[in-house]
Amino acid sequence: MPRPLRWILGLVVAAGLLLGGALLIPFGDWLPGGTVANVPNQEVVNGTAFNRLFPAPVAGEQLVFSQEKRGFSEARLRRGGELVALLAISDTTTAPEAREKFGSSQNAVAGWPLVEQGSQASALLVGGRFQVKVIGQGDGLDLQARHELLESFDLTALARLRPSLSPVSARKAPATPAPAAIGSAPALAS
C-alpha cells in the first residue's frame, strides 16, 4: 500500500472515530452500567422484594407505590385522597454512611434501632441492613403515628431478606440439601 494512501486511510479512520464519538455524546446517559456508588447490582436486593412487606392499608387509606428500583421501594400513603406520608424501604448496601446514625440510637421499635431525622422523618434499621423510613407529608404526622406505621411493616420477613443470586452464581452454588433430602420435592424447592 503506498504511503500517502496509508496516511489518508489513517486520517479517515481517526476522523470517523471522532465523529462517531461526538454523535454518541447526547446518548451518554443511555450507556449501560453506572450503578449507585458502583456497587454491583447483584449485591443489592431488588425493590420488588420489598413491595409485599409494606403495611396493608386500612379502610379509608390508599397505598400507591411510586418508585421501585434496585435496593429501593417507595409508596405514598393517602387518607381520603390527601397525601399523609411517604413510606420507603431501602437497602443500605449502596449507602453505608446511612447506617452510622443508628450507632448512637437509644430508642427501638419492635426491637430494631430507631432514629428521628428532623421533625417529620423516623427511620428504623432492620437486620443491620435495611432502612425503613416514614416521612410525614402535608400537615404531618406525630411521633406516635409514625412509629405505629413503622411497626406495621412486615419487619421479621424484611430482616430475613437476602439478595437473590444471579443466574451465574446460582449455578455455581453447591447443592445444599442433605443427601437424605434429595428427591423430596419440598427440599429441592427451598
Binding site: 447526547p26 452500567g33 413491595n51 411517604l86
Partner: protein, 295 residues
C-alpha cells in the same frame, strides 16, 4: 451528563416567557403551581424540616443517585431535552412560515413547511410516548401488578397536574381544537413513516422506543397515546379545559394575543420550554423523595 438533576433545577429561570405561560395556565388548575427553582427549598418541602446538615446530606445523596446512569434520572432529562429541541425546531419553522406567507418572495417557504394536523398529532404522541418512557426511567415499574402500575401512573399525573395541563392545552387543544382528543386516534391512524421522520426528536429517540422499525414505533406510540387518552379525557372534562379558555388564561400573564390559535400554539412551541421546565421539576421531586428516604 454533566449537570446533575438538582443543579439543573437550581438553574431554571425564575421569570421568563416559559414561567409566565405556565403561571397563566395554572389559573385553570385547582391547587395552582409554584415555580420551584431552588433545590434546598424542595428538599425542605419534602422532609418538612430545615435542618441544614440533613438538607446537605440529602442533597449529596441525590447528586450521587443522579450521577448513577442505571438509576435513570439523567436519562429522563435527556429525553425531555430531545423533545424540547424538536419542539423549538418545529415551532420555529411554523412561525417563520406564518411570517413569510405575507411576503411574495418567501411564499414558497410556507408551502415547504409541513402542514398541521397530522404532524401535530405525531408530535403530541411523541411527547406522550417520551413521558411514559421517562416515567419508567424515573420510577421503575412500581408495584407488583399492572393495576399497581396504572395507579402509580395516575398518581404521578395527578401530582404533575400543571405539567399535564400544559401538554394537553399547548400541544393538543390549541393546535388541534377542542375536539383534539377525540380526533387524535384517527389522525395518528393517518400518519405514516414520513410524518414521523419529519420530527427532529424522533431521530434522537428512535433507538429508545421499543420495536425495530418506524412502523413498530408508530404502533407503540399509538398504544401509549390510547392509554393516556382515557386519563386525559377525564382530566379535560373535570377541569373544563378548552382552547379558548387556554388562550384567555395565558393572556392574563403574557398579554393580549391577536391571531389564530394555531399561530399561538406555534409561538408557544418556538419560544417556551414548558415541557422541559416542568419535567426537571417533576424528576427532581421524585429524586429528592428517594434521597430523603435513603440517607
Amino acid at each position: 451528563m454533566g449537570r446533575t438533576v438538582l443543579e439543573r433545577l437550581d438553574r431554571l429561570p425564575r421569570r421568563d416567557l416559559t414561567v409566565l405561560a405556565l403561571k397563566g395556565l395554572s389559573t385553570l388548575v385547582p391547587g395552582g403551581w409554584t415555580n420551584i427553582t431552588n433545590a434546598d427549598q424542595l428538599i425542605q418541602d419534602v422532609i418538612g424540616d430545615t435542618d441544614p446538615a440533613l438538607v446537605a446530606r440529602i442533597r449529596a445523596r441525590a447528586d450521587q443517585l443522579s450521577r448513577a446512569r442505571a438509576e435513570g434520572y439523567g436519562r429522563a432529562l435527556s429525553l425531555y431535552d430531545a423533545v424540547n429541541r424538536s419542539q423549538h425546531a418545529a415551532g420555529g419553522l411554523r412561525v417563520l412560515a406564518n411570517l413569510s406567507a405575507g411576503l411574495p418572495l418567501l411564499k414558497r417557504l410556507a408551502d415547504v413547511t409541513p402542514p398541521g394536523d397530522t404532524l401535530q398529532a405525531v408530535d403530541l404522541s411523541l411527547k406522550v410516548g417520551s413521558e411514559l418512557l421517562a416515567f419508567t426511567q424515573v420510577n421503575g415499574l412500581p408495584g407488583d401488578s399492572f393495576g399497581d402500575f396504572g395507579a402509580a401512573l395516575a398518581d404521578y399525573a395527578g401530582e404533575a397536574r400543571v405539567r399535564m395541563a400544559a401538554l394537553i392545552c399547548f400541544d393538543a387543544l390549541l393546535p388541534l381544537g377542542d375536539q383534539a382528543l377525540q380526533k387524535l386516534d384517527s389522525l395518528l391512524g393517518a400518519a405514516n413513516r414520513k410524518d414521523l421522520n419529519r420530527l427532529p426528536a424522533y431521530r434522537q429517540m428512535a433507538g429508545l422506543i421499543p420495536g425495530r422499525s418506524d412502523d413498530a414505533h408508530l404502533s407503540f406510540l399509538r398504544r401509549g397515546v390510547d392509554q393516556w387518552l382515557g386519563w386525559a379525557g377525564g382530566f379535560v372534562g373535570e377541569l373544563g379545559l378548552t382552547a379558548q379558555g387556554t388562550v384567555q388564561a395565558v393572556e392574563s400573564t403574557l398579554g393580549p394575543w391577536q391571531g389564530r390559535m394555531d399561530q399561538f400554539a406555534a409561538f408557544l412551541d418556538a419560544f417556551t420550554d414548558t415541557y422541559a421546565h416542568t419535567g426537571v421539576q417533576a424528576v427532581a421531586r421524585r429524586l429528592v423523595e428517594r434521597a430523603a428516604a435513603e440517607v
